[in-house]
């Protein structure tokens, strides 16, 4: 193995299972996920709605409602320390101090009755012994860092006075205010217009360089993945189906689901070429209530054999750094 890490990874998730109890039965939202993030690395987690990518991220920070949610199995090793067994008090120390998070809809994660400055200052003061004054200065500094114009003034504004893109900048400022080693970005640009999306992705890149933190970028957009991360984990129905460097993934996608996903997107960079029909993946994502035995993609897979439904395929390394969960390989 070429990329053998010399030290332990920043975050290592092993066979994580997060299930939700509902009236209809257990929803196996995350059902055996393995992934690692190295220090300073940008990891993309890609998949469609309901694949478990967001639940995985929320589980890392224990931000899921428990109950109905429950971590049924697995380990979340944060710099070697298992987060699964930590209580809420210890978890609070890790949140934002060590792991920051930003969400798709910044409006719902900001409190409308406090100014953004007060909200950033409060996060800072939870983790650092600063006076109110110093924390407010820190808030101004953070807003300046994320390129909000006239931060001295805007720090006294309320969330509704910011546009969607600006709010996401505020969220990033807040998440980075305690200098975390990992930033989880859960669909940070999905609600934004494309030109604003580009600005935010650039900003994330810049912040990563500046602070040397790792980023876990969760998205459904293959284009965003291709442009913003080095390594990718593809999820489907609560499982990781493929893991590769971004070049490997787009040059030689191995899992039929990844192949289908890449082929089903219209490509503007190939607009000059002859237009062809999109290759859609047939069917719909299976219900996580009673997920099919064996490979969860089998019923939509063009290459499926009767064998596929027998046992759940495990992730196996096909080439250095490229792992796939499919019995073809």
């Amino acid at each position: 193995m070429a990329g053998e890490p010399m030290t332990e990874p920043l975050l290592a998730i092993h066979s994580l299972k997060t299930h939700f109890r509902t009236d209809d039965g257990m929803v196996r939202a995350v059902d055996g996920v393995d992934l690692t993030i190295e220090r300073g690395e940008a990891l993309g987690v890609v998949g469609e709605s309901g694949c478990g990518k967001s639940v995985t991220a929320l589980t890392v920070l224990k931000l899921i409602q428990m109950p109905p949610g429950r971590i049924v199995d697995g380990q979340i090793l944060w710099q070697g320390r298992d987060l699964v067994s930590l209580d809420m008090g210890e978890m609070r120390k890790i949140r934002s101090k060590e792991i920051g998070i930003i969400f798709q809809e910044p409006m719902t994660s900001l409190n409308p009755v406090y100014t953004v400055g007060e909200q950033i200052a409060e996060v800072v003061r939870q983790h650092e012994p600063l006076t109110r004054r110093e924390a407010m200065d820190k808030a101004v500094e953070m807003l300046r860092l994320v390129h909000i114009p006239t931060p001295e003034r805007r720090v006294h504004d309320y969330p509704h006075q910011f546009s969607g893109g600006m709010r996401q900048r505020v969220m990033i400022a807040m998440a980075l205010s305690c200098n975390p080693q990992l930033l989880i970005a859960d669909e940070p640009t999905t609600a934004l217009d494309v030109t604003i999306q580009a600005q935010i992705l650039d900003l994330l890149e810049e912040m990563k360089e500046r602070f040397g933190m790792a980023i876990m970028l969760i998205t459904h957009d293959m284009g965003v993945i291709a442009e913003s991360v080095q390594r990718v984990v593809v999820m489907y129905a609560g499982r990781v189906v493929e893991e590769a460097s971004v070049d490997q993934l787009f040059d030689r996608p191995l899992h039929p689901y990844t192949q289908g996903l890449i082929r089903s997107i219209p490509r503007i960079d190939l607009a000059a070429e002859k237009k062809s029909r999109l290759e859609a993946i047939a069917g719909v994502v299976p219900s996580l209530l009673d997920p099919p035995a064996g490979c969860r993609f089998a019923e939509r897979c063009a290459f499926a054999t009767p064998e596929c439904t027998n046992a759940m395929p495990e992730l196996r390394e096909i080439e250095p750094g490229h792992r796939v969960a499919c019995i073809q390989y």
Binding site: E48, S49, S163, G165, M166, D193, V194, T195, I196, Q197, A198, Q199, L201, D202, H220, D221, M222, G223, V224, I225, A226, E227, S228, V246, D247, F250, G260, L261, I262, S264, I265, P266, R267, I268, D269, A271, A272, K275, R277, L278, E279, A280, I281, A282, V284, V285
Partner: protein, 324 residues
């Protein structure tokens, strides 16, 4: 040259904002600002733009779901803005709409059969129950669903299936023009492709004309014959899909194209990053609406004079003082 199916001339829509004790109109949102375009039979015109560009309002004005403030909308030789009563009802059979949100666009308390059959009942298109039933089944099958789905309720379906139901509802009256308002943006990538393919097949099968509204440039490029780019209520560029993507003229179009993330990690592209955000449509910038963010602007011209949409080549028009 044949008469276009739809011709929109100088369409304007202002939304009044009420305020004060007396509830008088205190300010206006200039949602659509003198928009003109045409649509030929069987083609697809893509309408792209970011939020606040007025693309959805334009689509709804064409259908008279929103009353336009000014301008003309000619459909098959009739001015849509002047129709009322019976004629407007007749228009509803020729023009239909498909919505973005597959959850909000279906009445949760009606069965799928009732939802699709409603148009047939309204316009008396079925002689009896038997015929109504058969037609609904036929429509369901056309969009890839089955007769057994008729008696189910919308919440029993996935997003993609709901969107198919919405399409079947639009097809029920055998329309000529369908306004597709972001029909795939709420769907997952793999389902998006299914619905896009379905729309393309239906277009061929029924000789449909689409006004395809979307913010996703890749989807628009894929499905459209021609594309109009909107910014703050105005069309800034209109061209054939291929031309627009290969030779964009307006600096906004260029920036928009370069901002679309491409699923090819090694593709080296020139990046144009726009500064700032779309200005408030209550007080749009003077002159060219884009001049506040434009990388190539030349003051004072751009900030004082509104650029007209000018033809630069066959089928390619742009509204820019510098590139026109």
């Amino acid at each position: 040259m044949p008469q276009p199916l739809l011709q929109v001339k100088d369409l304007v829509k202002n939304f009044g904002l009420k305020g004060g004790i007396l509830g008088r109109t205190v300010s206006e949102v200039h949602a659509v600002d003198e928009v003109s375009f045409y649509l030929n039979v069987g083609e697809t015109l893509g309408l792209v733009g970011e939020s606040g560009s007025g693309k959805s309002t334009t689509g709804r004005c064409v259908l008279r779901l929103i009353e336009p403030t000014a301008g003309e909308i000619w459909f098959e030789g009739k001015n849509v803005t002047e129709l009322s009563g019976k004629e407007l009802a007749a228009l509803r059979r020729d023009m239909q709409i498909i919505f973005q949100d597959p959850y909000a666009s279906l009445n949760p308390r009606m069965t799928v059969g009732a939802i699709i059959g409603e148009a047939l009942v309204i316009h008396n298109l079925a002689k009896n129950r038997r015929e109504l039933h058969d037609r609904v089944v036929e429509l369901l099958e056309t969009v890839g669903l089955g007769a057994d789905h008729m008696r189910r309720y919308p919440h029993e379906f996935s997003g993609g299936q709901r969107q198919r139901i919405g399409i079947a509802r639009a097809l029920a009256v055998s329309p000529k023009l369908i306004v597709c308002d972001e029909p795939v943006s709420a769907l997952d990538v793999s389902i998006q492709a299914q619905v896009i393919n379905l729309l393309e097949d239906l277009q061929e099968q029924f000789d449909l004309t689409y006004l395809f509204i979307a913010h996703d440039l890749s989807v628009v490029e894929h499905i459209s014959t021609r594309v109009a780019v909107m910014y703050l209520g105005r069309i800034v560029e209109i061209a054939s899909a291929r031309d627009l993507y290969a030779r964009p003229l307006h600096p906004y179009t260029e920036a928009l194209l370069s901002a679309v993330p491409i699923p090819a990690p090694r593709a080296k592209r020139e990046r144009i990053r726009l500064q700032g955000e779309v200005p408030n449509p209550i007080h749009p910038p003077t002159g060219c609406h884009f001049h506040t963010r434009c990388p190539i602007r030349q003051l004072p011209l751009c900030s004082t004079e509104k650029p007209e949409l000018r033809k630069t080549a066959e089928g390619h028009s742009v509204a820019c003082h510098l590139r026109g």
